[in-house]
């Protein structure tokens, strides 16, 4: 194992702290008390930085600056787009561009994209990319500085530049960022933080490193064996069960991704010869984007909630994040999820108490832990599942009221046995071989669905009444007395509903499939002494 001298580690940590402070600033930026950048955007930015795959994103940013300056706004500056258009969400940027009264003919503002027609080439930017481009701009301002950034942007600020000029601008800007990161971010290949975990799993696996080698026992065994080691000589914090569990969750997703790639292409997406420079940073970033939990429905739900539609409270969101880690984790690390929720939380409390007391903790305090047992936790998750159902019903009411086709999907998610066959009555089946056929049947069925929902004598009426009653009983932000009818608000309900459906499905699988075969009382009896003994070693004065 690599040994890092204390002096060098201090220097490395100082450099990383500078970069962490930059990212932290971006995470903490607010607009009217709402986080300007979603967690998803912050993680996407961090991945670009860590993988050093930012050049293509810097190029997009430079084109966006051209669009901001030359699109037809009076001040011909890029700052208003990034700093006066509200929170950095797709919809904010879309509104900014679609509201321009007399756009320059060099630009085409469509529903999903901005098209820049340079004399030598066309460049298209999706509105959905703009949040991360905005975060990148702020990152550049905190790292290389606004003055230097503005100097790089100078060619875009006068007359409309050529596509080639924008590419040159982007290259120069990427070079500046490269120079900054060379001083502040050690390359991924030089990190060896997770080596001990991987070696432990490999040593304990019989069939090579695969998802099978990683299970509830190996996570617990690794933590028990390594958490009390001398942390001064370790490059990775494995003292907390939470950090080990988190690493295990990430590894499960990584191995699952690797298996899928092998199945599809018989090869991994990246070269594995680090020293030979085989790794393509953008491939690694693309792989991480699929592996990283930043792209899951939890983030979508948080984004919708942050935008003012309070489908879940902060406490409910915390509980969802505690229990849902993806299907593979739910299936393979079921016990670890509950251990993390109960003993992980208890350990966080101990760490907090230790910081306040500045001395070792009493045996009584440790022996009282955890506050909740597994069964109590599972009951909370079951109640949470009930809440998700209620919110989905309320969203069904809003979307039915608005005549949005997504209501059908929600109705089927809530009532999988719903018989919708009568809706097909009177619909002539079109020739599905004909490519020009748009789903006429679906449109007609949707119309009949809404009619059936509102028909006092229809079969779907009870579901509609239940949805209406549920909606009217909710008094949370975004759930007005009368459902909103504006399209952007309806779209928020659709996004929220889609995220809820996915989360509800995962939670249901966990509650009804993965958790049920386990005797949780017995499990608590087995786990409690193990965790308490380890907490005593870590915090009870036996380990300094």
């Amino acid at each position: 194992m690599d040994i890092v001298s204390p002096e060098n580690r201090f220097l490395e940590e100082s450099k990383s702290a500078e970069l962490t402070a930059c990212l932290q600033t971006i995470q903490e930026t607010t607009v009217d008390d709402i986080a300007k950048f979603s967690d998803k955007t912050c993680r996407e930015l961090a991945r670009l930085i860590v993988c050093r795959s930012y050049p293509s994103t810097v190029l997009e940013l430079c084109h966006l600056v051209v669009a901001a300056v030359h699109c037809g706004t009076p001040d011909r500056r890029y700052e208003p787009l990034f700093f006066s258009s509200g929170t950095a969400r797709t919809s904010s940027f879309q509104s900014f561009f679609l509201q321009i009264k007399n756009p320059s003919p060099a630009f085409t503002f469509a529903q999903k994209t901005v098209e820049i027609n340079y004399w030598d080439q066309v460049f298209t930017i999706n509105y959905s990319r703009m949040p991360v481009l905005s975060a990148l701009l702020e990152f550049l301002m905190t790292t290389i500085g606004y003055g230097q950034l503005d100097d790089h942007m100078a060619p875009a600020l006068q007359a409309m530049p050529a596509h080639k000029q924008v590419s040159e601008m982007a290259n120069a800007l990427s070079k500046s960022l490269y120079g900054y990161l060379a001083d502040h971010l050690p390359p991924v290949q030089e990190q060896r933080k997770s080596q001990s975990f991987l070696r432990f799993l490999s040593a304990n696996a019989t069939a090579g490193l695969s998802a099978i080698a990683l299970n509830d026992n190996s996570v617990l065994d690794y933590w028990l064996a390594h958490s009390s080691a001398d942390t001064n000589n370790q490059t990775l914090d494995v003292k907390t069960y939470r950090s080990v569990f988190r690493m295990a969750c990430q590894l499960i997703r990584i191995l699952q991704y690797a298996d899928e790639q092998y199945r599809l292409t018989s090869a991994l997406p990246i070269g594995t010869d680090f020293d030979g420079g085989e790794i393509d940073p953008s491939d690694l970033e693309q792989a991480l984007a699929e592996i990283d939990p930043g792209n899951d429905p939890l983030d979508d739900l948080e984004e919708v909630t942050g935008a003012g539609l309070k489908i879940v409270t902060k406490r409910e969101m915390t509980l969802l994040r505690e229990v849902l880690h993806g299907d593979a984790v739910g299936r393979e690390l079921t016990r670890s999820i509950l251990r993390n929720a109960t003993f992980g939380e208890a350990q966080a409390g101990l760490v907090q108490a230790l910081r306040q007391s500045k001395s070792s903790l009493s045996a009584e305090l440790i022996s009282d832990l955890p506050d909740d047992d597994y069964r109590a936790r599972i009951s909370q998750y079951a109640a949470l599942a009930g809440h998700l159902d209620q919110m989905l019903l309320a969203i069904l009411y809003v979307l039915t009221d608005a005549g949005h086709a997504f209501a059908l999907s929600i109705a089927l998610a809530l009532k999988p046995d719903l018989d919708l066959s009568p809706l097909a009555a009177g619909v002539d089946e079109p020739d599905w071989q004909d490519d020009t056929v748009v789903s006429f049947t679906a449109a007609t069925a949707a119309r009949q669905f809404f009619a059936a929902m509102k028909n006092p004598d229809g079969d779907l009426r009870p579901l509609f009444e239940q949805a209406e009653k549920t909606y009217k009983a909710i008094s949370r932000q975004g759930f007005a007395k009368k459902p909103v009818a504006q399209r952007p608000a309806i779209e928020q309900f659709v996004h929220g509903g889609a995220a809820l459906m996915a989360l509800r499905k995962e939670l249901s699988a966990l509650l009804h499939r993965h958790l049920t075969p386990i005797d949780w009382d017995q499990q608590m009896q087995t786990d409690r002494p193990l965790f308490r003994a380890q907490f005593m070693i870590l915090y009870g004065g036996q380990n300094g």
Binding site: K36, V50, F83, M141, Q189, R192, S194, I270
Partner: protein, 179 residues
């Protein structure tokens, strides 16, 4: 025994896990070092008269040469009027500043010698109504004053002479911005 690290899947897992650990580390909070000034806040402070600055921004504007340079640059790009250092004034104090049709003049108060009037006006532009006045002192300090609405293109202020805005306005080495 086979070396597991020679397995491509192992090495991929290692690279991906290290990268995600670095992502987590970068996004971990709180960072032990001093906080950075937020670009969004810098912009708000430069253009929005109602913005209440955080201590982090004020400290950075006072102590960080890079933030001072950046903020100066931001004012250059966002302010409506810029009055640079005054070149020729032997006494080191001035009676008025002028730039691009905008004038700031200074008159002593007859009622109180410790006070002075600052009159900000535009030649002929009745829509003239800047929201904020910035004084950039020669030592790098920034002083900011949200302005009352203009009356017929004219804003009149009564300031104590020892007020840092007043001393900055009268100092030939200061720069003044109006947004």
């Amino acid at each position: 025994m086979v070396d597991p690290t020679a397995n491509p899947k192992y090495r991929f897992a290692e690279t991906a896990l290290e990268a995600l650990a670095q992502v987590d580390q970068l996004l971990a909070s709180p960072s032990p070092g001093p906080k950075k000034a937020s670009p969004s806040e810098m912009h708000s402070y430069a253009v929005n008269p109602d913005h209440q600055p955080t201590d982090t921004l004020l400290q950075a504007l006072k102590n960080s040469p890079q933030v001072q340079r950046d903020f100066h640059c931001l004012l250059n790009n966002t302010a409506q009027y810029h009055m640079p250092q005054v070149a020729a004034a032997s006494s080191g104090q001035i009676e008025q500043r002028e730039a691009n049709g905008c004038k700031i003049s200074f008159r002593p108060s007859r009622a109180d010698a410790k006070q002075m009037y600052v009159i900000i006006e535009s030649a002929g532009n009745l829509n003239f109504s800047p929201d904020i006045l910035f004084v950039c002192a020669n030592n790098g300090d920034f002083h900011r004053l949200p302005l009352p609405p203009a009356q017929n293109g004219r804003i009149q202020l009564l300031l104590d002479r020892d007020n840092e805005i007043a001393t900055g306005l009268l100092d030939i080495k200061s720069e003044v911005y109006l947004k």
